[in-house]
C-alpha cells in the first residue's frame, strides 16, 4: 500500500508555503491557499447545494400553494421531466434530492482530475477505484 515512501507532491505539505508571515494568523483569514482546481470543485459543490436547496424549496412552496399532499414516494428518474412540466411538487423535491446525492460523485471526480493534474498516478488510481465502486453500486441498485 502506501508504504514508507513520501508522496511526490503533496498540495500543502510544505509548512513554509502555507504559513503567513510568522505569527499573525487570524481566525477569519485561514492561511490555506486553494489551487484553481480545488476552488472549481468547491464552487461546483456550493452550486450543487444551492440548486438542490432551491429545487426542494420550490417543491415545498408548490405543495403548499397548490395544496398537493406530499406523496410518500420519490418520482422515478424516468418520470421527472413530465412531473416538472406539470409543476408536480414531488418531481421538484426528487430532483433536488438527486442533485444532492450527486454532489459526492462530483467531489470524487474532481479529486481524480486534481491528482491527474498533479501527476500523482498512485492516488489518481486510488481515486478512480473509489469512483468505480460508487458507480458499481448505482448499477447494483438498478438491478
Amino acid at each position: 500500500m502506501s508504504g514508507g515512501r513520501r508522496d511526490p507532491s503533496p498540495p500543502a505539505s510544505d509548512p513554509g508555503a502555507a504559513t503567513p508571515a510568522a505569527g499573525t494568523p487570524t481566525l477569519d483569514a485561514p492561511p490555506h491557499v486553494m489551487d484553481p482546481l480545488e476552488r472549481t470543485v468547491q464552487r461546483v459543490l456550493q452550486a450543487g447545494v444551492a440548486v438542490s436547496f432551491g429545487l426542494m424549496l420550490a417543491g415545498l412552496v408548490l405543495a403548499l400553494v397548490l395544496k398537493q399532499p406530499l406523496t410518500p414516494r420519490v418520482t422515478p428518474v424516468g418520470d421527472l421531466g413530465t412531473g416538472l412540466a406539470a409543476l408536480d411538487s414531488a418531481a421538484f423535491i426528487s430532483l433536488g434530492l438527486i442533485v444532492l446525492i450527486a454532489t459526492p460523485f462530483v467531489r470524487v471526480a474532481g479529486s481524480l482530475v486534481a491528482f491527474l493534474c498533479l501527476r500523482d498516478r498512485r492516488y489518481a488510481l486510488v481515486t478512480a477505484a473509489v469512483l468505480a465502486v460508487m458507480c458499481l453500486s448505482v448499477l447494483i441498485g438498478k438491478s
Binding site: P30, H32, S52, R73, L100, G141
Partner: protein
C-alpha cells in the same frame, strides 16, 4: 405540517453536531424518525443517508477552505469503505443484524473509554506517510502530521463501511476513532477527512435507496433542508473549539449511540 417543522428543527441540530464531529447526522435522525415520527425503518435509514450526504457536502465546502481535509488519506480509506458498503449485503447473510448491533455497541463504549483514558489529542508526528498540514486557530499554529498504521486503518475502514452499509449509520462514529486513536491523526484533521468520507460512502447506497423507492419526500424534504442549514455551522465550531472539548463531546455522542444500539439489539427499540 407539524411533523414537517419538527423534522426540520431536529435536522438543523443534527446538521450542526454531525458536521462538527464528522459523524454525519444519522445517529440522531434514524432513531428520531423511526421512534418519534413513526417512519418505517427503511425510510428512516434512507432519510438518514440523504442527511449524511448533505452534512458531508456542506461541511466539505467549509473545511476545504481551511485545508483541513487530507484528500489522499480520505481516498485511500474510501476504497475500503465503499467496498465494505457494497458487500454489506453479503455480511447480512452471514451475521444477524442484532448480534452486529450488540457487538458495535460494546465496541463504541470501549472506544469512548480509550479516548477518555488518553485525554488530549493525538500528538502530531512526522512519519513521512500521507503527511499533511493545517492551521489550528485554537492553538494559533500550523500543525504538521503524518499517518501511522495505514494497513490496519485500511482493514478497519472495510469494517466501518460494511457496518454503515448494513445498519445505515455508524460509519463516521467508527472512522473517527480509528483515524484519531490508531493512525495518530489530530482530531480536527480527522473530523474534516471523515466528513469527506461519510458522504462518499453514503452516496453509494443513496442511489440504491432512491431506486427502490424508500425515500419519502415528507421526511427527506424537511430533513435535507434542515441539514443544509445546520451543517454550515458545525465546521466553524470544530475549527475553533479546543481538541479536548471536541473529544469530550465525541465521547458523549459515542456512549449515547452505544446505548441506542444496545436497546435496538435487545429489541427494546424499533
Amino acid at each position: 405540517m407539524t411533523t414537517l417543522v419538527a423534522v426540520f428543527a431536529i435536522a438543523v441540530a443534527a446538521g450542526v453536531f454531525g458536521s462538527m464531529l464528522g459523524v454525519g447526522g444519522g445517529i440522531i435522525m434514524v432513531p428520531m424518525l423511526s421512534l418519534v415520527f413513526g417512519a418505517p425503518i427503511k425510510v428512516a435509514i434512507a432519510t438518514s443517508i440523504v442527511c449524511v450526504i448533505a452534512t458531508s457536502t456542506v461541511a466539505q465546502t467549509r473545511f476545504a477552505r481551511r485545508g483541513m481535509t487530507n484528500m489522499r488519506l480520505g481516498m485511500l480509506l474510501e476504497v475500503a469503505t465503499t467496498v465494505g458498503a457494497v458487500t454489506g449485503g453479503v455480511t447480512a447473510v452471514l451475521i444477524q443484524g442484532r448480534i452486529l448491533q450488540a457487538a458495535f455497541a460494546v465496541l463504541l463504549v470501549y472506544v469512548a473509554w480509550m479516548m477518555n483514558r488518553r485525554r488530549g489529542d493525538a500528538v502530531p508526528e512526522r512519519t513521512g506517510v500521507l503527511e499533511d498540514t493545517y492551521f489550528d486557530p485554537a492553538l494559533g499554529e500550523q500543525v504538521v502530521y503524518g499517518c501511522k498504521r495505514v494497513p490496519l486503518g485500511f482493514v478497519l475502514s472495510l469494517a466501518a463501511g460494511n457496518i454503515s452499509g448494513l445498519l445505515g449509520v455508524g460509519g463516521g462514529a467508527f472512522k473517527v476513532p480509528v483515524m484519531n486513536l490508531l493512525m495518530g491523526i489530530p482530531l480536527k484533521a480527522t473530523i474534516a477527512t471523515s466528513n469527506l468520507m461519510i458522504g462518499v460512502t453514503a452516496a453509494a447506497s443513496a442511489a440504491i435507496f432512491y431506486g427502490r423507492g424508500y425515500m419519502d419526500p415528507a421526511f427527506a424534504l424537511p430533513a435535507a433542508l434542515g441539514i443544509l442549514l445546520g451543517a454550515r455551522f458545525g465546521p466553524g465550531l470544530a475549527v475553533r473549539l479546543s481538541a479536548r472539548a471536541l473529544g469530550l463531546t465525541f465521547q458523549v455522542v459515542l456512549v449515547a449511540f452505544a446505548v441506542l444500539m444496545a436497546l435496538q439489539a435487545l429489541e427494546v427499540l424499533l
